[in-house]
């Protein structure tokens, strides 16, 4: 699966990326983490407040750093 982190490089986006990586590892899934930093591409997902989390092209969360457990549930 492909997990995308939407955010222009703020601290929260880095934190969300780490949590997503940890969540994928904990769930035992092979996931490719992609960072999307271009603001127009980010907005194209319909996101208005970063950071955002996209799993297989579906926006699942916005404006919040999800915990590892929260992400695991979404995978």
């Amino acid at each position: 699966m492909i997990i995308k982190i939407l955010g222009s490089g703020c601290k929260k986006c880095v934190a969300l990326g780490e949590n997503a990586k940890a969540a994928a590892a904990a769930a035992g899934k092979a996931a490719e983490i992609v960072k999307v930093t271009d603001i127009v591409q980010i907005a194209a997902y319909g996101l208005m407040s970063t950071p955002g989390l996209v799993i297989d092209e579906k926006l699942v969360s916005g404006g919040k750093v999800l915990t590892v457990q929260e992400i695991e549930k979404l995978l």
Partner: protein
């Protein structure tokens, strides 16, 4: 004794800090009335004052903002039109996040949800131009009448600008992909603890982002304050020159800085006798328009709409500058 005046002097203008820094400068063997001593005093006092006010204000305002995420603002504005809807959009613009970098996602999010351009642009103009932190800083550096007048004219520019853009019938002048962006409504309610944490994170993030601009702004302000002769500045930007407002606006537009960085420059310029309108025009041009944000906007709107937006905002800023210069004596 006037309690309000005292509170204003001590809490907002931080007279105690100015006295303390003056004493510190003297203790370090510098004469605070000399050029060098005066520059050091201005720099140290202004940097400390701006960072204290900035941190306290961002914390308080972010807490309020946590109740108005863009998704909620969009719901509030949805389905409305007319001058009151523009006014509401402009008012909501004052309590939404500071960064002009969030204006593109908000533009796309609002437009995709079918909000008219008039409403979206009222919001987009007011958002960087007028925010609560800048109002309190203006009150601290100048006085309350100037701060309130700044808010009032900022809102007028946003309402009139949005209305004009709406009237121009350019709903089709938006990049094609914008209309097909999905409308997401992932609005979560936050607990009080989460709001406090959000406010704290905002302080850290914003201070981290703006500190270089503040230092540069204060350094330029200190240089103007003590080293540049007043007659050179008034010759360039003096009130009697018709070109002072357009010149200040033109210099300000491509510059990218936070309002927090421009305030110390504004303070020093007013002290040198530059008209209030000229200084406000400069500040508004720096915050409302910048080269990076224009380039960004170019990717989501077509050229005619971009040009109209630039013309409307620039026109508004020029108008405000000329108006304030004509009535400076009411305020200072």
């Amino acid at each position: 004794m006037n309690i309000f005046g005292w509170l204003n002097d001590q809490l907002l203008r931080m007279q105690w800090l100015s006295d303390l820094v003056t004493a510190g400068v003297s203790a370090a063997g510098l004469d605070p009335t000399s050029r060098l001593g005066g520059s050091v005093q201005f720099f140290v006092y202004d940097v400390i004052k701006i960072f204290i006010l900035l941190s306290v204000l961002i914390f308080a305002i972010s807490y309020v903002q946590s109740f108005f995420p863009p998704e909620r603002t969009r719901r509030i504005l949805g389905g409305r039109s007319g001058i009151w809807a523009n006014t509401l959009a402009a008012l909501l613009g004052t309590i939404t996040p500071f960064c002009s970098c969030s204006s593109i996602p908000i533009f796309i999010g609002f437009t995709a949800a079918g909000l008219p351009l008039a409403i979206t642009f009222s919001f987009l103009i007011s958002s960087p131009l007028v925010d609560l932190a800048s109002v309190i800083l203006l009150a601290s550096i100048f006085n309350w009448p100037i701060a309130l007048a700044y808010v009032a004219v900022g809102l007028v520019v946003a309402v009139v600008g949005g209305t004009l853009i709406g009237r121009a019938g350019m709903e089709d002048q938006v990049a094609e992909f914008v209309r097909s962006v999905p409308v997401q409504d992932n609005d979560q309610t936050m607990t009080r603890i989460e709001r406090l944490a959000f406010a704290r994170d905002q302080v850290v993030e914003i201070v981290h982002r703006v500190w270089p601009y503040v230092l540069i702004g204060v350094a330029i302000g200190a240089a103007i304050h003590n080293w540049v002769p007043a007659d050179i500045i008034t010759a360039l930007l003096g009130q009697e020159n018709w070109w002072s407002v357009p010149l200040a606006t033109l210099i300000g537009i491509p510059m990218y800085a936070d309002i927090f960085g421009t305030l110390p420059i504004a303070e020093a310029l007013v002290a040198k006798g530059v008209g209030l309108g000229t200084v406000l025009a400069f500040m508004m041009a720096v915050t409302a328009l910048s080269l990076p944000s224009i380039i960004m906007l170019k990717r989501v709107v077509k050229t005619p709409l971009l040009m109209l937006f630039l013309a409307v905002v620039t026109g508004g800023i020029l108008g405000i500058g000329v108006l304030f210069n004509a009535v400076t004596h009411w305020f200072i």
